[in-house]
């Protein structure tokens, strides 16, 4: 029988560390996706997520609503990504050191090449958004958070978040059009 989030949290707090492995298994796909898209760099995403999981483990007793563990973990991950993107050393190589997607360099059929080019266009467009616009867009449009949840996760006001999402949408639309899509 699948354990609920609250049951997993209870087991970890009782000293069963293996339950935390189950927590990670449950949420890591979503959190890896967010960190990669937010930071645009696999190595930094991996580091940020490891840090986020360790912090979550150490702070699990402070998770006020274990039934909403996923949102709590996403908030911690978003916080770690924000810290990472503020660092100068990170900014200097933001999106510059990620090698081209290996899938782009192979020999592919026309349909697959078109799909890969589309993904690359999105990646470049995301990279050109301001970090807070990118964060708001990803949390809302990709991770499906409502504005109240986003406010709790980021500490920003709801109106500011709505503005960021709309600006991000407009900017993405322009960038994708410039890349030849309509």
């Amino acid at each position: 029988m699948t354990m609920t989030d609250a049951q997993l949290v209870e087991r970890v707090l009782a000293g069963d560390d293996t339950a935390f492995a189950l927590v990670m298994e449950r949420y890591r796909t979503r959190l890896v996706r967010y960190a990669r898209q937010m930071l645009g760099n696999d190595a930094d995403a991996e580091e940020a997520l490891q840090d986020a999981f360790l912090r979550a483990y150490r702070s699990l007793a402070r998770c006020r609503d274990p039934d909403r563990l996923g949102s709590w973990l996403l908030a911690i991950t978003a916080n770690r990504c924000r810290t990472a993107s503020r660092r100068r050393w990170y900014r200097d190589r933001l999106f510059a050191t990620n090698p081209p997607d290996p899938a782009l360099t192979g020999d592919h059929g026309a349909d697959q090449a078109e799909e890969l080019a589309w993904r690359e266009a999105i990646r470049h467009a995301l990279a050109r958004l301001e970090p807070r616009q990118r964060e708001a867009f990803l949390l809302h449009h990709v991770e499906g958070l409502g504005y109240a949840e986003m406010a709790a996760a980021t500490g920003s006001g709801i109106s500011a978040l709505k503005m960021r999402v709309q600006r991000a949408r407009a900017r993405l639309r322009t960038l994708l059009q410039e890349a030849g899509y309509d």
């Binding site: 807070r132 996760a153 920003s156």
Partner: protein, 176 residues
């Protein structure tokens, strides 16, 4: 035209939702975290001391709920469809943009939704719209052709937003 462009962003979102990490990345993260937990340097029982993030999240959540309440919980409800708030005053937005095909006004009062408050084209390329705004200061900007955001050139009050772009400010004085 607008719908197709909106669809472009939705398609991008759908593509992003379908993405996952490179092979082995998730498992590697789990292994390293579990090693960190087992490691004496990392090993601490989950603490009962106050967690700054938890406190921040709770505070922000309370603030967000208050903002939500103050805003009338009206996400997506444009001012055109709602009863004017008590003390609301009609304010006329105007922009001269002869070459524009559409102009909208976005701001704190309509959730920054470009679809909510469209201006109407008039003489000499002037676009106008009157909205009933509650007392207080409101940030706003115009959206031209669905894409270009710009502050109101006729407004003397402009404030940079998070990204250095300008928003204008209109202040509505309450009626006594």
């Amino acid at each position: 035209m607008t719908d197709r462009h909106e669809d472009l962003v939705e398609r991008a979102g759908e593509t992003l939702r379908g993405e996952s990490g490179p092979p082995g990345m998730e498992e590697r993260i789990s292994r390293r975290v579990m090693a960190g937990i087992r490691d004496g340097a990392q090993r601490r029982r989950p603490r009962t001391a106050a967690l700054r993030l938890g406190a921040l999240a709770a505070g922000a959540s309370a603030a967000a709920m208050m903002l939500w309440w103050l805003a009338g919980a009206g996400a997506g409800a444009g001012p055109d469809q709602t009863e004017p708030a008590p003390g609301a005053t009609r304010h006329r937005f105007a922009l001269v943009a002869p070459r524009a095909t559409s102009v909208a006004v976005v701001g704190d009062f309509n959730d920054w939704d470009p679809q909510a408050s469209r201006l109407r084209s008039g003489r000499n390329g002037t676009w106008t719209l009157e909205l009933a705004l509650p007392p207080g200061s409101h940030r706003y900007a115009f959206v031209v052709d669905g894409t270009h955001w710009l502050p109101d050139p006729a407004s003397g009050a402009t404030i940079a937003d998070d990204f250095g772009d300008g928003n204008s400010i209109v202040t509505i004085v309450g009626r006594s």
